[in-house]
Symmetry: C2
Subunit: 283 residues, 2 copies
C-alpha cells in the first residue's frame, strides 16, 4: 500500500510515501508488509517518503526489512539509513532526519543468563556437567545455567533451565546476586542472575543434548571443588548461596505490579520491605 | 585473503575458503576484512567455504558484513545464513551446519536503563523534567534516568547520567531494585536499575538537549506527587528509596572480582555478606 499524502492545505501537491504509523517520539514506523518488491520502485518511494517526512517535521524513521527482501537493504543504506538491530528473519534500519544529535534508543546490548542454586533437605546441591564448554571448564560440576527466552521473566527462565537440564521441578525464592560481564558474545554484554530455587521433585532426567551428567552433590563436596577455591567469583557466589540457605543472607524477590506511567504490568525485583521493617535475625 | 586449504592428507584436492579463525565451540568466525567485493566471487567462495567447513566438522559460522558491502547480504541469506544481530556499521549473520538443533548463543535481547536516587542532607531529592516524553509523563518531576553505554558498568552509567542531566557529581552506594519490562523497543526487553547515589556537589547545570528543568525537591513534596500515589510501580520504588535513605533497607553493592573460569574481571552485584553476618538493626 502506498499513501498519497497531501503536503499541506495550501498546496495541492500530492506525494507518494511509504505506509507508516507514528511512534511516541515524533518519528514513524514503516509498515514492513508494504514495501515495493522492485529495487527501483523502492528507491524512488523511499526518497519521496523521506522528503515528505522531513517536511512534516518527523525525526526518527524505523524501517524493518524482512529477510526475503534483503535486496532492499543496500538501497536504504545509500539513502542514509543505518543498521539498528537484527534478529533471525529481519533487519531493522533507522534514519534520524534532524540536524541535532540522534535521540533514538540504542540497540539491545545484553543477553540475560540465569543459574539455579537448588538445594534439598539433605544439604545436597543439584549440579550438572555440560557436554560443550571451553577447556578450562571441562569436567567440573556446576549449577544449571542458561539464557532466558525472548520476553521471559528471569525467575521463569531459571526454573525452566533447571527443568530442561535436569528434569527437576522447582519454585523460585530469590535472586541472590548478579554478575555483569562485557564483550561476551562479540561486543555484547551479559547479565547473569543467580536464583535460589526450592526443589519440588528429586528424580533426575538429563537433557542429553546439552548435559553429560547431573546429580545431587553433598554441599561440602560441591564447595570443596578446586575451582571454588581458586576463583574469587565462584567462591563469592558459593558463599552467598550457602549463606542464603542458612538464612544469613537475603536477595531480591520478584513482585508483579502495574505502572501507569508506561501502561505496563512488569516485575520489580527488590528486597522484602516487610522483612526489613521487622529487622533481621541476629546470627 | 583467501585460504587454499587441503581437505585431507590422502586427497590432494585444494579448495578456496574464506579467511576465518576458530571460535570456542567448534565453529569459525569469518574475517570481515577479507570478503571479495564482487557478488559472484563472494557467492562462489562462500559455497566452497561451507563445503570445506562441513567436511572439517565445523558447526556454527559467524559472518560479519560491513555496511559498505551490504550487497553481499542477500547472497549469504540465499546460502542458508540468518541474521544474528546488527549494530550501526555492520550486520552479523550465522549459519549452523549440523543437522542437530542450533546451539549458538542468541542475540542480545535487552537494553539496560539506570536511574539515580540522589538525596542530600536537607532531605531534598534531585529531580528532573524531561523535554521529550510520552504525554502521560509530561510535566512530572522524576529521577534522572538513561541507558548505559556499550560495556559500561551499571553504577558508572547511573553516576554519568546524573552528571550529564543535572551537573551533580555523585558516588554510587547500592542498586536498590530493578524492574524487568518486555517489548519496550519493538520486541526487545528492558532492565532498569535504581541506584542509590550520594551527592558530592549541589549546584545544578542542566543538559538543555534532554532536560527542561532540574531541582532539589523536598522529599515529602516528591512523594506527594499524584503519580506516586496512583501508580504501584512508582509508589514501591519511592518506598524503597526512602527506606534505604532511612537505613531500613539494603540493596546490592558492586564488587569487582576475577573469574578464572572465563578469564574475566567483572562486577558481582550482591548484598553485603559482612553486614548480613552481623545482623541488621531492629527498627
Amino acid at each position: 500500500m502506498i499513501n498519497h499524502a497531501t503536503l499541506s492545505t495550501t498546496q495541492s501537491t500530492t506525494v507518494d510515501s511509504l505506509d507508516a504509523c507514528d511512534d511516541d517520539y515524533d518519528g514513524v514506523i514503516v509498515n514492513p508488509q508494504c514495501l515495493p518488491t522492485s529495487a527501483n520502485a523502492f528507491a524512488a518511494i523511499l526518497r519521496s517518503s523521506l522528503s515528505y517526512w522531513k517536511l512534516k517535521g518527523k525525526k526518527g524513521i524505523w524501517l524493518k526489512i524482512l529477510e526475503e527482501q534483503a535486496e532492499l537493504v543496500p538501497i536504504a543504506l545509500k539513502e542514509g539509513f543505518r543498521y539498528h538491530h537484527a534478529d533471525p528473519g529481519y533487519v531493522m534500519l533507522t534514519h534520524w532526519i534532524p540536524e541535532e544529535p540522534c535521540m533514538l534508543p540504542s540497540t539491545a546490548t545484553h543477553q540475560i543468563g540465569v543459574g539455579g542454586f537448588v538445594i534439598n533437605d539433605n544439604r545436597e546441591v543439584l549440579v550438572v556437567k555440560e557436554k560443550k564448554c571451553p577447556l578450562r571448564c571441562s569436567g567440573i560440576w556446576k549449577l544449571p545455567t542458561g539464557f532466558i527466552n525472548e520476553s521471559e521473566e528471569i525467575f521463569c527462565g531459571a526454573v525452566r533451565e533447571v527443568k530442561e537440564e535436569t528434569g527437576i521441578d522447582t519454585t523460585f525464592l530469590e535472586v541472590l546476586a548478579f554478575r555483569h560481564a562485557h564483550r561476551v558474545t562479540f561486543e555484547k554484554s551479559d547479565l547473569f542472575f543467580i536464583c535460589m530455587l526450592k526443589p519440588l521433585t528429586s528424580e533426575i532426567t538429563i537433557d542429553e543434548r546439552e548435559i553429560a551428567a547431573a546429580k545431587w552433590m553433598p554441599l561440602d563436596e560441591f564447595l570443596a571443588q578446586p575451582y571454588h577455591q581458586g576463583d574469587s567469583m565462584s567462591k563469592n557466589v558459593a558463599d552467598i548461596c550457602v549463606s542464603s540457605y542458612e538464612n544469613k543472607y537475603r536477595g531480591f524477590t520478584a513482585l508483579q505490579m502495574m505502572s501507569k506511567l508506561d501502561d505496563r504490568l512488569s516485575y520489580l525485583y527488590c528486597g522484602d520491605l516487610c522483612k526489613w521493617k521487622k529487622g533481621l535475625p541476629e546470627t
